[in-house]
């Protein structure tokens, strides 16, 4: 039996590069496992985790959520502009997305600095070990994402911009799951 000319394979429908999707799913599962471990350990010491959570900065994290989702739409608009060969607009959207990524890191830096000023470190409690591990690993992805967005802005072409934007959306995707579990759920 032969395929009809109009029949499409599932991979034809996948937006963007297959490898970036392998990365997105892998990262989602890695952070999902990290959050699962956080909740599993939390079950052994709910009072200790609640006390630790009270020392965190949910308002700063909420601000960072708004910053990151806004940055995400800017990256998506950059990809759209690159596709339409609007290079100037594409670079502006990428610059905006990068600037918001830097804002995210600065706010995260304030959070870490304030916790350090309270004498809270990685070893203060298991909750803080998970907090620093998960948010620190995520922040490293944000820093890498800012760099990648900057690199693709130098010679703006649709495929690299789309791939960089997909990486950036993955960073966004992970954050919207980290934020409620670590900062908000009581």
């Amino acid at each position: 039996m032969t395929d009809s000319p109009t029949e499409t394979e599932p991979f034809d429908d996948l937006p963007g590069d297959l490898m970036i999707w392998v990365l997105i799913v892998s990262e989602l599962l890695v952070f999902g496992a990290g959050l699962a471990a956080f909740l599993a350990v939390r079950a052994t010491d709910p009072a200790g985790f609640a006390t630790a959570q009270a020392a965190l900065h949910p308002a700063a994290a909420a601000l960072n959520t708004a910053v990151l989702v806004t940055s995400g739409v800017a990256a998506a608009l950059a990809a759209r502009s690159a596709e339409a060969a609007r290079l100037g607009a594409g670079r502006l959207w990428l610059a905006f997305a990068m600037a918001l990524g830097v804002v995210f890191l600065v706010v995260k830096g304030f959070e870490y600095a304030d916790l350090a000023a309270q004498g809270i470190g990685v070893e203060s409690h298991a909750a803080f070990t998970f907090y620093y591990l998960l948010t620190g690993f995520h922040a490293a992805h944000v820093a890498a994402g800012v760099l990648i967005l900057g690199l693709v802005a130098i010679r703006l072409r649709p495929y690299p911009v789309e791939t960089a934007a997909a990486f950036w959306h993955m960073v966004d995707l992970v954050w919207v799951l980290l934020f409620p579990v670590i900062y908000l759920m009581g």
Partner: protein, 83 residues
Amino acid sequence: MIRDPLPRAWALLIGLSLLSAALADWSDPGRLTSILILGLGLAKARTILATYLRLAGAPFWMRGADWVLALVGVLLLGLYIVG
């Protein structure tokens, strides 16, 4: 009414984030509120996958992503409830 799906998704994400923060700020979040907050997080994740990552135009892959999100959601919810 915003016609462009990207700013519409952005507005939805901001709205869901505000709702999460309001629910958490409302009082000490109890079990039900925390489960709602987790649900809102998963809804945000789905919005990002569907619109920012354009899976809405690829139903086969959107279903796959829904399964991955459901797996993560059930795992997190189960561990939260057990705790």
